[in-house]
């Protein structure tokens, strides 16, 4: 099985180690990867700003970049979620309409791909009894519709105690350009999120979306809070026990 990696711009700009972790986990499970060169951003920053016409170049570019891929696996739920929005952006009869549907159908966020397609629950990651909490990103949950996969994979990480985060359903205040356009509101939101994270007593904050993670971590750092912040790919790639890795089974959702 071969997957095309959707590397996303926040990762490209800021966090190579997260992409590396994703590649290592996938390859350990026997998945071959490729990184289509032509890919750029998913177009969300401009699209959500209302610059819909200006986004179409980006969006068509992404569709073209992944046209020949069998699976497209992204490192951020929000960005993969954006792919599922593409089909609405083209009128019937537009040649890009079907291509957009195809891309949406073969796109997965990383943990979603592990759980839904590979049928894997335990990737062998191990910790030493640390306590962690998970921030669920809104776009991964509501736009992409993936609520379960990260929790199932995290529950199978040995030596990691997962603590529930209060107000799990609430946005952290990132919202892409919202965080720079409306910093006052964003601050109020991220402050509550930070306090919720701190209130759990967790030593590690985990998320599957780098935007949210960068937002909450940025606030934690500004306030001098001591906590470890990890992307879920880094967690799933931590201190791996090769003996324990689930065999890749039949896809759970074969219709994908």
């Amino acid at each position: 099985m071969k997957v095309s990696l959707f590397s996303t711009c926040v990762m490209d700009l800021m966090f190579p180690q997260v992409g590396i972790a994703m590649v290592e986990v996938l390859e350990r499970l026997g998945v071959e990867t490729e990184l289509p060169e032509g890919q750029v951003c998913c177009g969300q920053p401009t699209y959500n700003s209302g610059l819909v016409k200006e986004s179409m170049l980006t969006i068509k570019n992404q569709i073209d970049a992944f046209e020949d891929s069998e699976y497209v696996v992204g490192i951020a739920g929000s960005c993969s979620g954006m792919f599922t929005e593409y089909p609405h952006m083209f009128e019937e009869g537009d040649p890009y309409k079907q291509k957009a549907i195809d891309l949406a159908n073969k796109s997965y966020e990383f943990t979603q791909f592990l759980y839904r397609v590979l049928g894997v629950k335990d990737v062998g990651a191990t910790f030493n009894g640390e306590k962690a909490t998970y921030h669920r990103s809104c776009h991964m949950t509501r736009i992409l519709g993936e609520r379960e996969a990260p929790f199932i994979l995290l529950d199978n990480v040995k030596g990691l105690e997962m603590l529930p985060l209060p107000h799990l359903e609430n946005c952290c205040g990132f919202g892409g350009t919202f965080s720079v356009k409306a910093p006052e509101i964003s601050e109020m939101m991220v402050t509550e999120k930070m306090n919720d994270v701190v209130s759990t007593g967790a030593e590690i904050l985990i998320s599957a979306d780098l935007g949210c993670l960068m937002n909450i971590a940025g606030k934690l750092n500004r306030e001098g809070k001591k906590i470890k912040v990890m992307h879920i790919a880094e967690v799933l790639n931590n201190n791996v026990d090769l003996e324990r890795i689930d065999k890749v089974t039949n896809p759970v959702f074969a219709e994908a």
């Binding site: 590397s7 990762m11 490209d12 401009t46 819909v52 356009k181 960068m214 906590i227």
Partner: protein, 490 residues
């Protein structure tokens, strides 16, 4: 007050709400409490998503055939001896109500909570009819706002959410001579004593309308205090104001929507009083002898046939406010519209235009909680993007804020071309690495591996105003570089 609740700018209102820590805490507490009640009420019903589908289809159907159902309703009201008036705007609605009140020479008017009467601003008109006018809001929360010199509502369903019992006690003490404590039971008793006196003497009753029933000419009202029932049954003259979209074909559809409304709004199966009423029939013992329905457009038809038509599906349950993380922080008054929260951010620009309400569609992270909870499936967060699209792409009224649109256009260019994207990534690193760093990085893990930026200019200014920004890795350590080497090493 009308649709607009403030003359301040959005930024000024935000500043006010940030300072009002009491109101913020009250909203957060109310949201948390509502969450559980609403979830329980939904679970009890079972198959919530199917109910939503049905509710959506009822609302869509009615909107599609709106002229038909409005005509049917109007004919049925007339058949029973009542009157229907179509008001194109707030002035026409007010003029009609004024004419009726003057004709009746009425001095004592009772009102039951209604958003549309606030929207068209009936109260000051009634007050202006003379010093001897006695006007009474009979919903407890609206009564509190009225006594507090007509303070503005901050929530569609819980209009006095921003006031606590101590504040209410002070208001009652100052305005009503109340001498008791801050116990809600005693406060409610004080309000009731004031209200009952006027109820019995009232000459005109004014209510809103949750749904109008097309095939009977009845109106449907949901309340928990029974105040609407008294407002309908005691005065001889009844004036109902309704938004023109608040109509259903028959009582069957109203029943479904009442279920969705009560469960979504207050987490109840049904509200304590669910009333169907209209012109008093010959053999009935109570009810209005003179029954008027004012059907208000006031900007609603701006949405018909556009991408925003689905906002008229709204049944004013306020559930989107109760899940909105932005509303949670800034409260209702910050929106500057009597319709706050996600529904207000979509509806207010439709009714009142972008010049005044153009900030509201940007006051959202597009998290989608509103869309997910809406009992009639309005795609609220998508409509917020649609507003932005109209403003940016069609009207070219660029929304700057702290974020200049030129820069956003540059982002569009940068993300659209693979080559430029690569350049942008490199430039971002160079730019970020030159900025002043935080002395200490407390957050562990790889996110701040290259340090933290405290103060950034341009695009990232808003970001670093409130939080730190991780420094980007040097070019040779970027993911694409690593991946090339990784593949070559295979």
């Amino acid at each position: 007050m009308g649709l607009s609740t403030s003359t301040k700018t959005f930024a000024e209102r935000l500043e006010d709400s940030k300072k009002d820590t009491f109101a913020r805490a009250a909203v957060a507490k109310a949201q948390d409490a509502q969450w559980e009640k609403r979830e329980t009420a939904r679970e009890e019903l079972g198959n919530w998503q199917e109910w939503r589908d049905i509710a959506e289809s009822i609302r869509q159907h009615t909107l599609k055939y709106l002229p038909h159902y409005l005509t049917e309703f109007s004919d049925n009201v007339a058949k029973r001896g009542g009157h229907v008036f179509f008001a194109a705007n707030a002035k026409e609605a007010n003029d009609y109500v004024k004419r009726i009140v003057l004709e009746k020479n009425a001095k004592k008017i009772v009102k039951s909570k209604s958003m549309v009467t606030t929207e068209v601003d009936i109260d000051p008109m009634l007050v202006s009819l003379g010093d001897d006018m006695d006007i009474l809001e009979t919903d407890l929360a609206e009564f509190i706002l009225q006594v507090a010199d007509w303070d503005e509502p901050s929530h569609i369903v819980f209009p006095a959410l921003h006031k606590n019992r101590d504040q209410i006690r002070e208001i009652f003490a100052a305005k009503l001579g109340y001498e008791g404590d801050n116990d809600p039971v005693n406060l409610a008793r004080c309000a009731r004593d004031t209200m009952r006196k006027l109820f019995l003497k009232s000459e005109v009753g004014i209510t809103g309308c949750n749904f109008a029933i097309a095939n009977t000419g009845d109106i449907n009202l949901s309340t928990n205090e029974g105040n609407a029932d008294l407002t309908i049954s005691i005065p001889k003259t009844q004036i109902v104001l309704m938004g023109m979209e608040r109509i259903v074909p028959s009582i069957k559809e109203a029943e479904i929507l009442d279920n969705m409304l009560a469960r979504s709004a207050v987490g109840q199966k049904l509200t304590t009083y669910v009333t169907f009423a209209g012109q008093k029939a010959e053999d009935e013992s109570d009810g209005p002898e003179d029954f008027h329905v004012v059907i208000v457009d006031n900007g609603r038809s701006n949405a018909i046939g556009t991408a925003f038509e689905s906002i008229l599906q709204c049944i004013r349950c306020g559930a989107c406010l109760n899940v909105c993380p932005v509303y949670r922080q800034i409260g209702g008054h910050a929106y500057g519209s009597i319709y706050p929260g996600p529904v207000g951010s979509v509806l207010s620009p439709v009714l009142g235009g972008y010049e005044q309400y153009g900030d509201l569609p940007y006051a959202s992270t597009l998290c989608g909680a509103c869309t997910e909870t809406c009992p009639v499936k309005i795609p609220l967060h998508e409509l917020l993007i649609e507003h932005r699209k109209v403003m940016e792409d069609e009207l070219k009224m660029h929304h700057d804020g702290s974020f200049v649109n030129m820069e956003m256009n540059a982002v569009g260019m940068g993300t659209g071309h693979p080559a430029m994207f690569g350049m942008a990534v490199n430039m971002a690193h160079t730019g970020l690495s030159m900025l002043p760093k935080a002395k200490e990085v407390t957050v562990e893990g790889s996110l701040f591996k290259y340090g933290a930026v405290r103060k950034a200019p341009a695009l990232a200014k808003g970001w670093t105003d409130v939080r730190d920004l991780p420094v980007a890795p040097p070019h040779k350590e970027q993911f694409r570089q690593w991946y090339k080497k990784h593949k070559a090493g295979k």
